[in-house]
């Protein structure tokens, strides 16, 4: 009883100390969009560091895929694509980074935060809907950028590849890819109830992209009919932009086509998020 009273008394005392600034509506400097997104991103980075599976998937899976892809692609005839095995592998790797670090990881994260009611709680605060989704995606975006830099550095420093011919295209590709895949990840969570089923729900898009968007098998080396169909896949223009950005040699119409296709897919993905994204678990 005595402890109960002292605890209550202490609570009151603390509350009284802080009385002055409460409920008065005194204007204080507001939070900023950047500040809010960074606060969310920082928390997500901490969480990523504590989730061994996610950490393994984002840090090592792309490297593992590069190795697996290289041995697979050796059997392909790349002569029509005009690329060496090394060039096809290193540029296709951008796609793997986007799939594992952005798409798979964010699908798990968004689903987990929704099911834990974190998203619902965050929506009562000052951060807007877009800020919540974007802030949550920040660690994935940072890791993606770092891995892309690593790929280019490794390629030029150790594999005797050229420096990126058109860095601006490379950057455009990675940025569009980030936004598109983050949005696709958010949209895909509509099909998942747990972060484990989210991984499963992400399989179709991931598999189709890996096989058909030029990461493993360049479109230029495909039969024409197949290549034309694969042009329509969401990740094809992104991989195309990044590949052209590094290796060069794309003409203006090709580049504009990639940019337009990537923008259309990004817009569709954003629309899907606005239409289908759920902020609370289904009851």
């Amino acid at each position: 009883m005595a402890t109960g009273m002292s605890k209550a008394a202490r609570g009151t005392a603390v509350a009284a100390e802080t009385a002055s600034a409460t409920g008065t509506g005194v204007p204080t400097s507001s939070t900023t969009l950047t500040g809010r997104a960074l606060a969310l991103g920082r928390a997500e980075l901490t969480l990523l560091g504590r989730n061994k599976t996610a950490l393994y998937m984002t840090l090592f899976m792309p490297a593992l895929m590069i190795w697996a892809m290289r041995s697979g692609a050796q059997k392909l005839d790349l002569s029509r694509s005009g690329m060496s095995l090394k060039e096809a592998t290193m540029t296709g790797a951008f796609g793997y980074v986007l799939i594992f670090v952005v798409y798979y990881n964010l699908m798990s994260v968004y689903t987990a935060r929704r099911e834990e009611l974190v998203l619902k709680r965050l929506r009562t605060g000052e951060a807007g809907d877009l800020e919540i989704l974007a802030g949550t995606a920040l660690p994935s975006a940072a890791i993606t950028l770092a891995q892309c830099v690593l790929l280019v550095t490794a390629g030029t420093a150790w594999l005797d590849m050229r420096a990126p011919a058109r860095p601006e295209l490379l950057l455009a590709g990675v940025l569009l890819g980030l936004v598109m895949l983050a949005a696709l990840a958010a949209a895909s969570t509509a099909m998942a109830r747990t972060s484990e089923t989210a991984q499963l729900a992400g399989m179709p898009l991931a598999m189709v992209s890996m096989l058909g968007s030029g990461m493993f098998w360049p479109l230029e080396a495909m039969p024409d009919v197949l290549a034309n169909a694969c042009e329509l896949l969401p990740m094809t223009p992104v991989v195309g932009l990044m590949r052209d950005g590094w290796l060069g040699g794309a003409d203006v119409s090709e580049t504009l086509g990639h940019l337009a296709a990537a923008l259309v897919w990004t817009a569709l993905a954003v629309f899907a998020v606005r239409r289908w994204f759920r902020w609370e678990p289904r009851r």
């Binding site: 609570g11 008065t24 204080t28 606060a39 619902k120 605060g125």
Partner: protein
């Protein structure tokens, strides 16, 4: 902008779940109106499913009402949430935090999204979680999570505080500490809207309250008004050989209703003292002993059961001590 004293103004509010025109849809809020004045503590009472949370979520701006109008601090909380959110604090009935973050990390994250946030130590101290700062969320008890949720609602020193069942899952000691904290905030001028199904909580804290049933407000007023509108009761056992008909004329004693079963008599009156005096004088005159005499004014619980339980007689009503962590 002048919105008088009404910090929260709600008129003819409606909320329907499901698509418009969908017959299977459910209307959870059916034309609710009330005003909460600055500095007031207003409690929404009701059994589970009465529409309390559905109403509060509209006030918090989490959803757009199907009909009617809400103003919080003079603004539409859904359409103008950027203006409203920095000035309000929200504690959901069920909100979540990432289970692998520590308590302090959660507060830091929330502070980054809160204008004028208190320091972490201060926020945790308010709710008695100071010693748990480095514990992961998943290791907290249900009651500790509720207290953390409250700390975050208070983080920005809000002008208006929405508390949806703030003490559910708390042990009695933590509940009373929370009441103290809410009283202190109210004394400092914070306007509080609270939902609860603990009548004791509403009676202890609320300046005014409204009782909801099936999506509507069925009664509202100060706790004294609500209780006062319900009759007091006198119960006793009729001595052997005596009958209700032997009492003085009941209307003259101010009795509104009476019941008799198995020799036990219950009189209902809105003038307890007059009725009781008449009864006792009669008993002295007749030299009778009224066994098991019991006279009491209505409690909020009786008023609540009479009002909220009118169509759901056996509505479950948790006693405050009945639930703990």
């Amino acid at each position: 902008m002048d919105f008088g004293d009404g910090v929260i103004e709600v008129s003819e509010l409606r909320r329907r779940y499901g698509r418009p025109g969908d017959d299977k849809g459910f209307e959870a809020v059916r034309g609710v109106s009330f005003t909460v004045r600055r500095g007031e503590l207003f409690a929404l009472l009701g059994t589970n499913g009465a529409g309390k949370t559905s109403t509060v979520e509209l006030l918090e701006g989490l959803a757009r009402p199907t009909g009617g109008r809400v103003r919080v601090l003079g603004h539409d909380p859904h359409e103008e949430r950027r203006l409203v959110r920095p000035r309000i604090g929200v504690m959901l009935q069920e909100g979540g935090f990432p289970s692998d973050l520590t308590v302090a990390e959660t507060v830091t994250m929330w502070a980054g999204c809160t204008t004028g946030a208190r320091p972490t130590d201060e926020a945790l101290g308010l709710v008695g979680l100071g010693g748990r700062a480095n514990v992961r969320i998943k290791q907290l008890s249900g009651g500790e999570r509720r207290r953390l949720d409250l700390a975050l609602a208070l983080l920005g020193r809000p002008e208006v505080l929405f508390l949806d069942e703030p003490t559910t899952g708390l042990d009695p000691e933590a509940r009373h500490a929370t009441w103290e904290l809410v009283r202190t905030l109210r004394e400092e001028g914070t306007t509080v809207l609270l939902t609860t199904h603990y009548l004791e909580e509403a009676e202890a804290l609320a300046d005014r309250l409204a009782i909801m049933r099936e999506g509507r407000i069925v009664t509202s007023g100060t706790p004294a008004d609500v209780i006062g509108s319900h009759p007091a009761r006198i119960r006793f056992a009729m001595p052997d050989g005596w009958f209700v008909g032997d009492l003085p004329p009941l209307a003259e004693l101010g009795v509104l209703r009476h019941e008799e079963a198995g020799g036990r008599v219950e009189l209902q009156t809105s003038e307890l003292q007059r009725t009781l005096t008449g009864l006792l004088l009669w008993a002295r005159e007749k030299e009778l002993e009224l066994e098991g005499l019991d006279a009491r004014t209505a409690s909020l619980e009786e008023a609540f059961l009479a009002i909220a339980g009118a169509t759901e007689a056996a509505a479950p009503l948790a006693a405050p001590a009945g639930r703990s962590e």
